[in-house]
């Protein structure tokens, strides 16, 4: 112990004084698990990892880091797909996974107050017996945390009807980068009439403003009936047109999800096998929820739209277990595709829903041009595409082609009037891509807003906004993107 303590740097020693030895990790081996998130291309071992269990402890840790001018990175479950919780610049990771208490549940006022490390699905499990649930449902919901969801403004299959995380967060207690506290919003409403919507602004700030240590979220009443329908189509175009017609008919399904043929095949060959018709060009999952008689009428209408667009196969889940089966393939799609090669690059572009068909055709052409293995699974109702490129990250040529194809796909989304990210965030992955949407003045205004929260850039530096001039430590991925760009432009 004495020897260990002697090897520690002064900061680590003071962190150990605050949290105890078990909750401050700093040996290189112990840090391995924190060197990346789901975006495995950007790897960097943090300087140390701390595991606080209360707001007071987070405050104490952040004060120590602030006083020592050492940057830090909040982290939930590390399922982010854009490098958000990966350390830059010798940062200390503040891992919030041990803060997993549900602090308050109100059945009359319909809200819950949770610590940030509460796993998304655990919150619904905690209120299930009350006929309630927490609506935002990222496909990673069995692992990802409410803190991570809040910081990313996460979506999920059911966000088409129920909205993103921002539509469900009412307030938060946050530890600012100097260790002081700010309370944003309130269970009664995200904004008082004489206040600003700081809860809304914080949501999606990707851990670069402050650390949320308590989050107040809205709870939703469970619907009386849920019906899950599936149809397969001979072409992707038919599946996309079906989505348009369902929406145009004024129906508001809870979810509208499409998987393309390559994804279907990957899923059917994996443990996530769901019995999808493997010969179809696309499978469309539609979930309807609401009062029993309403859902019955809507299901009949949707089935008729399926038929009108030449569905090859139509089915409806016959039981809760069967419903789980139909969703298993969709929820496991990323896992299934992860087995196609050593690495998977999950893209996350958005196009107006009415341009889906065109976007998918052009994405396929981009894939062919760059010779990459491209699959698509997406939130069709929101026009939120997830083109996935399977590649071998050890092969420099494959990696370069993957980056080039990804970049072209995101540019296409912007050209079609969309966005470079619908739910996965900018993180370190899209530092270059964000400039496809915003000019220098736009980015400067965003930087000013971040400085208002995080004036010394200690909280998650090097994320969200490109920092060509000031960032001492640029992540490996943007460097790779920059290299590809340089090559492309001769």
């Amino acid at each position: 112990m004495a020897m260990l303590a002697r090897r520690m740097r002064p900061l680590e020693r003071s962190l150990v004084r605050l949290l105890g030895r078990e909750r401050v990790l700093h040996s290189p081996d112990a840090l391995l698990a924190w060197e990346c998130d789901g975006f495995t291309v950007h790897r960097r071992r943090p300087r140390a990892v701390v595991l606080p269990e209360s707001t007071d402890e987070v405050q104490a840790v952040v004060r120590a880091l602030h006083d020592a001018s050492v940057p830090f990175v909040p982290r939930g479950a590390g399922t982010c797909l854009s490098g958000g919780p990966t350390a830059n610049a010798d940062a200390v990771v503040v891992d919030l996974a041990r803060m997993r208490k549900v602090l308050q549940i109100s059945t009359e006022d319909l809200f819950a107050v949770v610590q940030p490390g509460v796993v998304n699905l655990d919150l619904t499990a905690a209120v299930h017996h009350l006929g309630l649930h927490y609506a935002p449902d990222p496909s990673s919901q069995s692992v990802c945390t409410i803190g991570g969801n809040f910081a990313e403004n996460s979506g999920g299959p059911h966000c088409f009807k129920y909205g993103m995380t921002v539509d469900h967060v009412l307030g938060a207690l946050v530890v600012l980068p100097d260790g002081s506290l700010a309370r944003l919003g309130d269970a009664a409403g995200a904004r008082a009439p004489h206040g600003l919507d700081l809860t809304g602004l914080f949501c999606g700030s990707e851990g670069t403003f402050a650390i949320a240590t308590e989050i107040t979220v809205r709870l939703c009443r469970d619907q009386e009936a849920v019906r899950t329908l599936l149809a397969s189509f001979p072409t992707m175009a038919a599946a996309c047109r079906t989505v348009s017609d369902v929406v145009a008919a004024g129906l508001l399904p809870a979810a509208l999800e499409i998987l393309d043929q390559a994804t279907i095949r990957a899923v059917e060959a994996s443990v996530y096998r769901a019995g999808y018709p493997a010969d179809a060009a696309a499978v469309l999952l539609v979930e309807l929820d609401g009062p029993t008689e309403v859902v019955a009428e809507e299901a009949a209408e949707v089935m008729a739209v399926f038929a009108r667009h030449g569905a090859l196969h139509r089915e409806e889940a016959s039981s809760p277990a069967d419903r789980k089966r139909l969703w298993k393939g969709r929820k496991g799609a990323f896992g299934a595709m992860g087995r196609l090669n050593t690495d998977l690059y999950v893209l996350d572009g958005v196009v107006p829903r009415t341009r889906l068909e065109e976007a998918l055709e052009r994405i396929a052409a981009i894939g062919r041009k760059h010779g990459v293995v491209l699959t698509n699974v997406f939130h069709a109702g929101d026009g939120n595409l997830h083109p996935n490129i399977s590649f071998d990250g050890r092969d420099a040529d494959q990696t370069a082609r993957t980056i080039a194809a990804g970049r072209e796909i995101l540019q296409l989304c912007v050209d079609l009037g969309g966005s470079v990210t619908g739910e996965h965030g900018i993180g370190s992955e899209k530092l270059e891509h964000v400039a496809m949407m915003y000019g220098p003045a736009d980015l400067d205004v965003m930087a000013r807003v971040r400085r208002a929260w995080n004036p010394r850039d200690l909280c998650n530096p090097g994320k969200v906004l490109p920092q060509r001039s000031s960032c001492a430590e640029v992540a490996k991925w943007p460097q790779m993107v920059a290299r590809v760009l340089d090559e492309e432009h001769g």
Partner: protein, 346 residues
């Protein structure tokens, strides 16, 4: 006010702001003029009503982009013709509506200006033009600076164009109005309707000289509307359009946010005859007969608990209210410094 400027477009507005050094008050239709603190002498008003075009209306994608000076009623007519709507309450120019967000959501979890604003184009006090957010229904690219418009009362930047989320008009809708209720009956009905799995499109609870009224709108498919009206014994009535309280001579109107379970405590903190209105989204207004009554209410508010401030009253008292959390105030002040360091926009 030291004159009114009426730029024709965003470029003119930017030029105007670049050339100004004194205080500026932004204005849409000016309908909120009696709700904000008075302007210092030398302040010029910049009225944005000439920025009034609909840039695009993609009904099939449920989005549109409109100039901030466009009048809401003009947009509503265009939307209705295409079978879509902007599902929030409020009138005036769209910029003014979002900057003042006077009602919030009319239903818990329902759409509010906050949730309908997908992005914007704006101009800072120094004339810098910028964009935030996107035109599509889903985007998490960059920081959502556009959310700062909501409730900013024109003090952070001018919005010149708004990207908005729309919704299909419901197939059926019925307004209800159950009046002559006692407080317990009103609360029971309000809480029951607010907690429905498919909540009403609008929900309001009002207390006035005639007693308590719970009113609102059930929307959706015809069978759902009929079944909900039946199950909760809702009586059909005229649309509920009085979404604000009027100020009585010498009196004040306070606005705030409150949880339904705390409404009885809130009413207990006010005189028994004070007019009161709460929307399903949590925003309330209460009418008090004198500044002394308001001060007593504000002093009692933390025990309710609720947050509140003076909406209508003598100019110098407007926006006074319960203290905002110091950390939150600090960030708000830093944001003002970051976006309008010279304090031009007042």
């Amino acid at each position: 006010m030291n004159g009114v400027a009426r730029p024709a477009n965003a470029a003119e507005l930017a030029e105007l702001l670049r050339s100004k050094s004194g205080p500026v008050r932004l204005r849409g239709n000016g309908s909120r003029a009696d709700r904000v603190p008075p302007a210092a002498t030398g302040t010029i008003a910049i009225e944005l009503r000439n920025l009034a075009t609909i840039d695009r209306l993609d009904a099939a994608d449920f989005t549109c982009s409109v100039d901030a000076g466009l009048d809401r009623s003009t947009l509503d007519d265009e939307l209705a013709a295409r079978g879509v709507e902007l599902p929030c309450a409020g009138a005036g120019t769209l910029g003014g509506l979002f900057a003042s967000d006077p009602i919030g959501a009319t239903m818990f979890g329902g759409a509010s200006p906050r949730s309908l604003l997908l992005g914007l184009e704006g101009v800072l006090a120094d004339g810098t033009r910028f964009r935030s957010g996107a035109r599509v229904v889903k985007s998490v690219a960059g920081f959502d600076v556009h959310r700062l418009l909501v409730g900013s009362h024109g003090t952070l930047f001018a919005a010149t164009r708004l990207h908005l989320r729309l919704r299909a008009r419901p197939r059926a809708a019925a307004w209800f109005r159950n009046d002559a209720l006692d407080e317990a009956g009103a609360r029971t009905l309000f809480v029951a309707l607010r907690g429905l799995a498919v909540p009403p499109a609008a929900l309001h609870w009002r207390r006035d000289a005639r007693g308590h009224t719970v009113a609102g709108c059930i929307a959706g498919r015809a069978n759902h509307v009929a079944a909900t009206m039946r199950a909760h014994h809702l009586r059909e009535g005229a649309p509920f359009v009085d979404l604000h309280l009027q100020r009585t001579p010498g009196g004040e109107v306070l606005g705030g946010i409150v949880l339904p379970s705390r409404v009885p405590a809130l009413l207990a903190a006010a005189p028994p005859d004070a007019p009161f209105l709460v929307h399903g989204g949590g925003r309330f207004e209460i009418g008090l007969s004198s500044p002394a009554e308001s001060d007593a209410f504000v002093a009692a508010a933390p025990r309710v608990p609720c947050e509140a401030c003076i909406l209508l009253g003598e100019p110098a008292r407007r926006r006074r209210g319960t203290p905002i959390d110091p950390g939150q105030s600090r960030i708000a002040a830093e944001l003002k410094r970051a976006l309008d360091p010279d304090g031009i926009l007042v």
